[in-house]
């Protein structure tokens, strides 16, 4: 078991997660319409504003908010989110989300990092219920706190390219409102001092996928019998989640940084079985929470 901990970076998972940034980049290309594809009739399951001049798909959170303002049930957007969540949970956040990639890149700047307290991560649910559903329902999309009006992804992916285009064409630049500028500035600044601040504290899409972590078909599973309590998994996690304690924590984005030792591993639900070692020791083989 000790040798397992020593070979922390030599398991298949570690080799796979080494290419995470490249895979995020490939997904980014897909979201940016490499063939000029603009399928804005369908949502992609990632946080990417449809106001971006290159956006291939519609943003699911934007559609939830807009449809809430219109008092119409968005079956298509909800269906896409539920299917994605049921299959992979928050893998999307760690491997496919373009806004997540941006935050990951900003976090590489060597500056001191602050870990937000656990209670602050519940703000995501408040943002989902308050700004995406309740506020648009009662006050419509013209309210200054309507989600799209304060969304930093919309500002960075939609407003900034538009302003650059306007400035380049010699036209008057249409600035976003002060609230949007303030939120965007705060999130961009926080990206350098907090790992994935948007995902941890405010992302409503991450809140949805996080809820699916407990039931998703593909998940991280913890095998207690293989664990030597070295604590490396917890130290590797950007969100302070230890996979050996809470493999299905809603905050987990399944970046797979913590599964290198073999005590935790990525599995489909049908693959989970009590380990032979655990059976020998007479302990529970798989712990899922």
């Amino acid at each position: 078991m000790v040798s397992m901990a020593e070979s922390f970076f030599h398991t298949p998972a570690s080799k796979f997660s080494r290419y995470r940034t490249a895979i995020q980049g490939l997904f980014l290309v897909a979201w940016l319409g490499p063939l000029g594809l603009r399928v804005h009739t369908v949502c992609a399951p990632v946080f990417h504003c449809y106001a971006c001049p290159l956006a291939s798909f519609a943003c699911p959170i934007g559609i939830l908010a807009q449809f809430s303002a219109l008092h119409v049930m968005p079956f298509l957007a909800i269906g896409i989110l539920v299917v994605t969540g049921a299959l992979v949970g928050s893998f999307v956040c760690g491997w496919a989300c373009p806004f997540g990639l941006l935050q990951d890149l900003a976090a590489r700047v060597p500056l001191p990092k602050w870990d937000p307290p656990y209670w602050l991560t519940h703000m995501r649910y408040a943002a989902l219920v308050g700004l995406v559903i309740i506020l648009p329902w009662f006050f419509g999309e013209s309210h200054p706190l309507f989600f799209c009006r304060v969304c930093p992804a919309g500002a960075l992916e939609g407003s900034v390219p538009m302003m650059v285009t306007q400035a380049a064409a010699g036209q008057a630049v249409a600035w976003p409102n002060a609230m949007k500028l303030g939120v965007t500035g705060a999130v961009v600044l926080a990206m350098f001092f907090v790992r994935r601040p948007w995902c941890q504290i405010l992302c409503p899409l991450g809140a949805i996928f996080g809820l699916f972590n407990r039931i998703s078909l593909f998940a991280i599973r913890f095998y207690p019998a293989r664990c030597v309590d070295c604590g490396k998994c917890g130290a590797k996690c950007d969100f302070g989640v230890s996979s050996r304690i809470r493999a299905d924590d809603p905050r987990c984005i399944r970046c797979m940084e913590c599964v290198h030792c073999g005590a935790c591993q990525i599995e489909a639900a049908w693959q989970a079985k009590p380990s032979a070692l655990a059976a020998d020791l007479g302990v529970e083989g798989v712990r899922e929470r």
Partner: protein, 117 residues
């Protein structure tokens, strides 16, 4: 397979099937009535003899002597829009909730270039 794994597989399968059902229903069947302002062009037919000896400026386009060949009438009609169409409209701010609770297209003619937010 452990009991937990079975529970997970059952929950995930049910959720995936439900999600798939919602997606198919939304994409294929779900429609919603939307008020659309249509421009209806109608050819103007003048009664016999009226075109030639009309009174000065009676039928003509203001400021000219030309007789209008057609008139454009705006009429609000209610059309069913599919959910994918509504998603597309929502991405460019093309839909709004009217005071009477019905949906209304915010433009007639060319759609807005970008989302108003």
């Amino acid at each position: 397979m452990t009991r937990e794994a079975f529970r997970r597989m059952a929950c995930a399968s049910l959720a995936a099937i439900a999600g798939l059902g919602l997606t198919v229903f939304g994409a294929g069947w779900h429609t919603h009535p939307v008020m659309v302002q249509k421009e209806i062009k109608e050819k103007l037919s003048l009664p016999p003899g009226m075109g030639e000896d009309r009174p000065a400026s009676f039928f003509s386009v203001p400021g000219t002597d030309a007789i209008p060949q057609e008139i454009v009438r705006r009429e609000t009609v209610t059309l069913p829009k599919s959910e994918p169409e509504m998603v597309l409209e929502a991405t460019r701010g093309g839909l709004e909730l009217a005071e009477d609770g019905r949906l209304r297209l915010t433009y007639s003619g060319a759609p807005p270039a970008r989302c108003p937010t």
